[in-house]
Symmetry: C3
Subunit: 331 residues, 3 copies
């Protein structure tokens, strides 16, 4: 740290908008040119950028981590006042800690346990026999269906549904679907974030399990009996089919589909909009996405794609003919 | 059935976790090795596996169907107590059967009809003039907008939205979008399941229609004026664009996109993450998905893909040259 | 306009179902054959179709726009009665216009501003310090989190979540994710429609911005700090990753993924199920979608695809050999 220790900093701001009471950061050569002009009260920089800024600065190898830590200190989440809003409907058998905050129109089912520091947002539904670990936040209109367990310090975003029934049917000979009762739970570890309108289905017989530190973005579908290892992160619109087992520290980019009943090793990355169809070992990076190009050019190439197999066979024939010509030439 | 008729069975369990009061099943050669070691009170097996298990057993060609039937008997859904929670807001003109159960914070609009045995979960919204058929369950926070019809024995999962406005606009010359009023309804048959946070839009002029026995998983989008035939099933994250007509007994796997205004025959299967762009007749199985491979290998192949058309033309030229060489050689 | 000015028309209807008090339209040669048989009280037609119908008719170049205008006149949205339902939980510091309508179980946070003509539907949550512009409609169970701004005449459909926390983390060396506080807002312009269960995350430092006249369909994910230009439309199931900047009047079809941190020019179209990975200038039409074909044929072609790079190199070698043969032949 270099500079004037008396400076007061209240808030974080982007590099190009920061004022004298703000701290900003630069971690990318892409924005380096903005450093000298920054009016920030302090900057977090990589050591090699130190000379570019005459003001207060914090030098570290990874400015983004330092920035995140400082931002968390300067901007803690709003503290909810403990207590229950009068419009909440709490079953008399539920055990709600006096240190929890239950918002308006929230609904807590029979024998549910709400630990201290939990914030149950407006319109949230917590089913019978759920346990919500301390300091977890259930945001507006999140739903946790009966018997599910959520760990400590989690954030369940607005509209997320934990513990809906898995999609389990068997087909009868006449084509009707017969429902298979979904008797498992969803068990979520500590420090897990679940995005807005994301859905995690309960297990069929065993449980659906989400490990500690997992981060799920918005509009993700996690089917019944999926297991997700610790600290794995998934971006928006991912779909994971039933009974897939996903390792630790994986990074699944947006729009990815993961097949059911496969095993994904630790430290696997899947690029955006890809389809992971078979089991893979980690570490490794996998892809099947196609980047868009001009639609007319694309249409021509796709038209050919249907004849790819034929094309490969024609090439094989051409190669053989060439070989014959060459060997014929030698005679 | 073979074994001791006095044995008592309370619950279903997975093959490898079942105890003496559990019934389990095995339908796949993959798990056959677990049969002899199972401690289950009874097993449901295919006849050819009968000898592997000395205990009580039920033999049948399709153990999964038998298991599902038994599981439904042993684990019926929790019966809701008929009556209306005091915090529910029910319009005085709504006709709610005394045999229906209306949960906390539920909202029932004007002239809605709620038949006997219906369970309206916590926070559910039922719009004006809707009809909810007997024994249907609307789970936590489901929304059914005005004038929609839902049949008997359906399950609408948490957060699902039935009857939102269709995405209908015409573009004016200056680029503004002019809304087209969405005047149709959603009409859902009997025995339909709709997954968590799935959305089914109301029709523009006519109705959006979901046939009997249709099963929709989570986070599916059904656009206005789509028709879905009886007993069709769709897995998570499917999107069906406007006015598509889908046949009976189709199986649409996860992440599939279905183009608008197309017709899909009966008994059509579409594999996961595919894009059904044109009409197809059934029965048939259709695909356009690409399985992920190592990202660096994939990148090389995709780079070539943009030149596929050029490659095909070069092959054609090479073939012609070879032909000329060969015919030249004959001279 | 031609015909009997005394005719009374009450409602719109499809061409083939319209009766004497209905107005219908035909804009496509595909349905032209239905015109002569139509029993509609009036038809909106292109001038070249005028002779096909003897009854009342309105002739114009774009019958769909005329039809939409007339449909909006004949079928205005139901007027909500101003006032607050007794079950709504409104913070005393919120400023709710007497011209607004607040539905049952709605929740309005501290210092929120609800302007005149606003309809807050049943179960809606409006967070602290939000501003909802006049004549905007928040439908059942929509959530607007704290500090977000929504313009005039917008429709936020059921279950949509505006202002959830962005998916912002930095990874610590041990693999844990450290949350980056999401301090920005969502700022939505006038005349914007947001579909059912669509999610728009708040910005990390700056804001997420949705321009005037933007139309978003259902189940769309808009990540933090995305900017969407005026009058852009996106169909269902689109995902836009963080900090993407999208131009005006773009048309993004269903199921498209848009990469983060890219720039998309004005008047860009992206076809359904494509992946826009890099920045593009407009106007232009882009695609990377693959239409489904018979699954067995597809499997053969896809199998080859993994060897595309190898195939291209083999072709190159064959071409070179042919060249050598030809030049050898000249010797």
């Amino acid at each position: 740290m270099q500079g004037n220790g008396e400076s007061e900093i209240d808030a974080v701001a982007p590099l190009d908008q920061a004022g004298p009471r703000h701290v900003a950061y630069c971690a990318s050569p892409r924005y380096r040119s903005l450093i000298p002009e920054s009016a920030a009260g302090a900057l977090i920089l990589q050591p090699e950028d130190a000379e570019l800024f005459p003001g207060n600065k914090i030098l570290c190898a990874d400015p983004r981590v330092a920035f995140a830590r400082i931002a968390n200190l300067l901007h803690p989440p709003e503290r909810a006042v403990p207590g229950c809003h009068q419009s909440a409907a709490i079953d008399p058998s539920a055990r709600v800690s006096p240190g929890a905050s239950i918002g308006p129109a929230a609904i807590i089912g029979a024998d549910a346990v709400i630990e201290t520091g939990v914030v149950v947002g407006p319109g949230v539904v917590v089913g019978a026999r759920c346990v919500i670990g301390s300091d977890t936040r259930l945001e507006a209109r999140a739903v946790v269906m009966h018997d599910c367990l959520i760990g400590k310090r989690c954030v369940i975003s607005p509209g997320a549904v934990i513990g809906g029934e898995g999609f389990g049917y068997v087909r009868e000979q006449d084509g009707h679907w017969l429902k298979v009762p979904q008797l498992g739970r969803v068990v979520i570890g500590d420090d897990v974030d679940v995005g807005a309108n994301t859905t995690i289905d309960r297990g069929a017989l065993g449980d659906t399990v989400v490990g500690n530190g997992v981060k799920l973005d918005n509009l993700i579908q996690i089917a019944h009996n999926v297991k997700i290892g610790d600290n794995t992160a998934m971006a928006g619109c991912v779909g994971v089919a039933g009974s897939a087992v996903i390792g630790k520290r994986c990074m699944i980019a947006g729009g990815v589909g993961i097949m059911g009943h496969i095993t994904v090793g630790d430290d696997v990355e899947v690029t955006a909009m890809s389809f992971l169809k078979g089991s893979v070992e980690g570490p490794g990076r996998f892809s099947s996405s196609l980047p868009a190009t001009a639609a007319d050019v694309w249409a021509r190439n796709v038209g050919r794609l249907r004849h790819f197999d034929e094309l490969a066979r024609r090439l094989r024939r051409a190669e053989q003919t060439i070989k014959q010509i060459l060997s014929g030439g030698k005679h």
